[in-house]
């Protein structure tokens, strides 16, 4: 094969490789947008980001294919092009374990700032819990901890994941969820303590619904929200796309 033909062939191969990377990512974006799978990683309102990513991948992949004659120079550096392409596909290998999992007790243990912390109210949006809330409707854990002061003594109904720790008071466990602003990387836990006689029925990362009376206590200078559970039952793990509670950016 002449040098010119080799270069031309290399150019076509390089263009096809580049286009393949873009095509793959376009398919990934489309798959994530389908059925809202992306909310396992991103704030729901960020869907335009993925739509834009998909369209750009299609446009740039098409441009890469049309450029096949112009990429002759890059054929001379095909090793780097192949490495770049493979590296750009690495995240897809991690999409498999990520898509079938949620952030659990391992992540909670690393991110929790200690005890049953009520997040600073100003860092979270005012929840939608109405002032005349009577406990008949389930409330998200985010709303619960934010409105804890106004729910003192009321019956509340919420759900979350179980975290059992050695230093939690006897008969209590932490009920937690993760709150996301932009993406899972900024996920912060919110939690309450649940007091129950059925502690032996739950284990770490079990999803439970609980109903009980809410009370606020201050222990060693730390605000704690405690739910004295009258009912506790395990529920099915929601799909990963429903695992987070979302805090709007503004």
């Amino acid at each position: 094969m002449t040098q010119e033909a080799h270069t031309h062939t290399g150019g076509i191969g390089t263009a096809a490789l580049t286009a393949l990377v873009y095509a793959t990512w376009a398919c990934v974006f489309a798959w994530l947008l389908d059925a809202g799978r992306y909310t396992a990683f991103l704030q729901p309102s960020l869907w335009p980001l993925l739509v834009g990513g998909l369209l750009l991948c299609v446009a740039l992949g098409s441009a890469a294919l049309r450029q096949r004659d112009l990429t002759a120079a890059h054929a001379a550096d095909s090793t780097q092009r192949w490495l770049s392409a493979l590296i750009l596909l690495v995240p897809l290998a991690y999409l498999v374990p990520a898509s079938n999992a949620d952030l659990g007790s391992y992540a909670f243990g690393k991110r929790d700032l200690g005890g049953s912390i009520v997040p600073q109210a100003s860092s979270l949006q005012t929840p939608t819990t109405p002032p005349d809330f009577d406990g008949s409707e389930p409330v998200s854990l985010l709303d619960l901890v934010y409105s804890a002061a106004s729910l003192e003594g009321k019956t509340v109904h919420t759900e979350g994941k179980v975290f059992l720790t050695e230093d939690v008071r006897e008969g209590h466990f932490q009920l937690y969820r993760f709150v996301v602003v932009c993406c899972a990387a900024d996920a912060q836990p919110v939690s309450v303590l649940v007091k129950t006689a059925d502690l032996d029925k739950v284990k770490d990362d079990t999803w439970v619904q609980t109903r009980g009376t809410l009370r606020n206590v201050n222990q060693d200078g730390q605000d704690l929200v405690i739910v004295d559970a009258t009912r506790l039952r395990t529920i099915d793990m929601p799909p990963p796309r429903d695992q987070f509670l979302f805090q709007p950016l503004w």
Binding site: T18, G53, A98, A101, A184, D186
Partner: protein, 341 residues
């Protein structure tokens, strides 16, 4: 490689760097090996979620930045840039630090844009000022910071002011240290002698130019995207294994709290639109405002992911100098802030 094979306006393909190839190959082996062989499944799942979420949020912005860069390459002649810029370099740097107000970009999208601006003859100092300031000094981050801190405007304005001041100071310093760009940039970033698509007797049509711009963008993203992925992987790993509880023990020692929150900013790799919410969450743990501010100012300028992406713009010496300047200036500014509070 003969110049006849080099597409007009494209940076010349650099000679294969053995060290870079080895590093990237090692990354592939480690990354693929970890997903296949990780012993701790819970850790793997957490790393996966963190890594994928960082990449998913960043890639669309990087694609957009590459697209903008491609159009700058084709449609913005160097003489326009030279005419538009102030003649005095220090004034150029001061103005560049405010460009994020008009052209807001996140820290991922700004890299490909800055690469193209450098190739159009924008001086190093101005490019660095824009690179560091734009992800902070922009309307989107202003609003998200205000929301996170309940519209406490002194905090918001403080973040903007510190971000701007540090960015232009570093821009001016880089301009002086590298004698106006010499030896600071990776091969192919230096301004070429002629603009893209201006060669030849027949002027390029609009359609041809758009195609060329998209082609440049496609190559740009392929080149710079690898740094994002490598940085995001390391960020996901560190995010997963570094516990945050320890930071609450530093609340009474501002000096250590500032250093710790700077370290956390480097590890967490959050986008500048959401990092204020994480910073604000440490108020409940009693961390001083200076430490929270350090987190919000440093993160958009320097973290693991950005350090990886800087390798697509700067040579190693310039990265070392840039890193040293960013870390030292942020620390000194926050210590001064703590004293003044």
């Amino acid at each position: 490689m003969s110049s006849a094979n080099n597409p007009p306006g494209s940076p010349p393909a650099p000679p294969t760097n053995t060290a870079a190839v080895a590093t990237q190959t090692a990354f592939l082996v480690v990354a693929v090996g970890y997903v296949l062989l990780a012993p701790n499944r819970a850790q793997l799942q957490t790393v996966s979620i963190m890594f994928v979420s960082i990449v998913l949020e960043a890639i669309p912005f990087m694609l957009l930045g590459a697209l903008v860069g491609g159009f700058i390459e084709v449609f913005v002649p160097r003489k326009w840039v030279a005419r538009a810029l102030p003649k005095r370099r220090w004034l150029m740097v001061l103005a560049a630090g405010l460009l994020g107000i008009l052209f807001p970009v996140c820290e991922c999208a700004v890299i490909p844009v800055v690469r193209r601006l450098l190739r159009k003859g924008v001086p190093l100092g101005a490019a660095v000022a824009y690179l560091l300031a734009a992800p902070i000094v922009n309307p989107v981050v202003t609003l998200s910071t205000a929301t996170a801190y309940s519209f406490a405007w002194p905090v918001v304005l403080g973040r903007m002011a510190f971000g701007y001041a540090i960015a232009v100071t570093i821009g001016l310093a880089m301009e002086q240290i590298f004698r106006r760009g010499e030896g600071a940039l990776v091969p192919g970033i230096e301004a070429p002698e002629e603009d893209c698509c201006t060669h030849g007797a027949t002027p390029a049509t609009l359609r041809t130019k758009i195609g060329a711009a998209l082609g440049h963008a496609a190559d740009e993203f392929l080149d710079i995207g690898r740094y994002l992925v490598m940085g995001a992987f390391l960020a996901g790993l560190l995010q997963t294994i570094v516990p945050r509880q320890g930071f609450t023990l530093l609340a009474d020692t501002p000096f250590l709290a500032i250093l710790a929150m700077m370290g956390l900013a480097v590890v967490l790799n959050l986008c500048s639109e959401s990092d204020a919410f994480v910073a604000a969450s440490f108020r409940g743990a009693g961390l001083p405002l200076s430490a929270q501010m350090a987190f919000m100012v440093l993160g958009p300028m320097f973290d693991i992911k950005l350090l990886a992406m800087y390798h697509g713009v700067f040579r190693r010496k310039a990265i070392l100098v840039l890193t040293g300047l960013i870390l030292s200036l942020v620390f000194m500014a926050m210590m001064l802030f703590e004293v003044l509070l």
